[in-house]
Symmetry: C2
Subunit: 154 residues, 2 copies
């Protein structure tokens, strides 16, 4: 999967929490952002955050839940993804019209977008050097900078 930088972190996280007390991490995260730990949210949090860095769509997550025999509606998946995003547990990355991924990596970083596969690959923030940004238009403040490097498979 050629994703060397992130793999180390992934292993660390999953070994520290996931393998032994499977719900401790999910519960902690929900507590931290003040969302009631319901069965559905716990299950989705576990699917999202126990698997290392992921870029998934709402449909993807709904599919994963079904596979894990978690009963949750698609509407709840959408609600939950947005709540997680609002709370800073997730980031949304938009790559194409009608194509939006939720990214479990909320640290500053960038992306390769691989076409036509439609796959996202993380770029560590320090492997892009971004100097001399223009000042924002009058009356606005900078929120964040997204760098998307679009690449194509030969």
């Amino acid at each position: 999967m050629s994703d060397n930088q992130t793999d180390k972190t992934v292993e660390m996280v999953s070994e520290t929490h996931a393998s032994k007390r499977p719900y401790a991490d999910a519960l902690l995260r929900l507590k931290q952002v003040g969302l009631r730990p319901t069965r559905q949210r716990m299950a989705l949090a576990k699917l999202l955050f126990d698997g290392g860095d992921q870029h998934i769509t709402a449909e993807d997550l709904h599919g994963m839940a079904r596979k894990a025999t978690v009963k949750v509606s698609l509407a709840t998946v959408y609600n939950t993804l947005h709540q997680f995003k609002e709370s800073g547990l997730l980031r949304e990355v938009v790559v194409g019209p009608g194509r939006s991924y939720f990214d479990t990596n909320t640290h500053a970083h960038h992306h390769f977008y691989v076409e036509p596969a439609g796959e996202l690959v993380d770029i560590p923030v320090d492997s892009v050097e971004l100097s001399r940004l223009p000042s924002p238009p009058d009356g606005t403040v900078m929120d964040r900078v997204d760098v998307i490097i679009r690449v194509t498979q030969a």
Copy 2:
């Protein structure tokens, strides 16, 4: 509109072509990319390229056409925008899920995305310095780099 660099080009283009021979420029562009100059394509090209740099949605363009009493269906607007994009006459900029703009400026440049207004503002390519890009994943070649600076109105 605080868009100084591009304004000059805009004026130049519109004064050189648009005002006197209104269809010459549109016709030339269609010829160059090998698209048959139909009534609808000519009209849309004129609306798109005679107005200087623009960021518009399919619905926007359809509305502009109606206002200009050009009879064209929404399906044709979508077809035409995609053909223009494939031919390199337009660029597509995706900023949010279900929100995609077509940009008449096809030169390398970047964007401010102003929220919640949902407005795009061009950033000249040379006012962003982008050094040290990572190499693309194996089996892929770099297509282009999009920098979107997300800003919010206070």
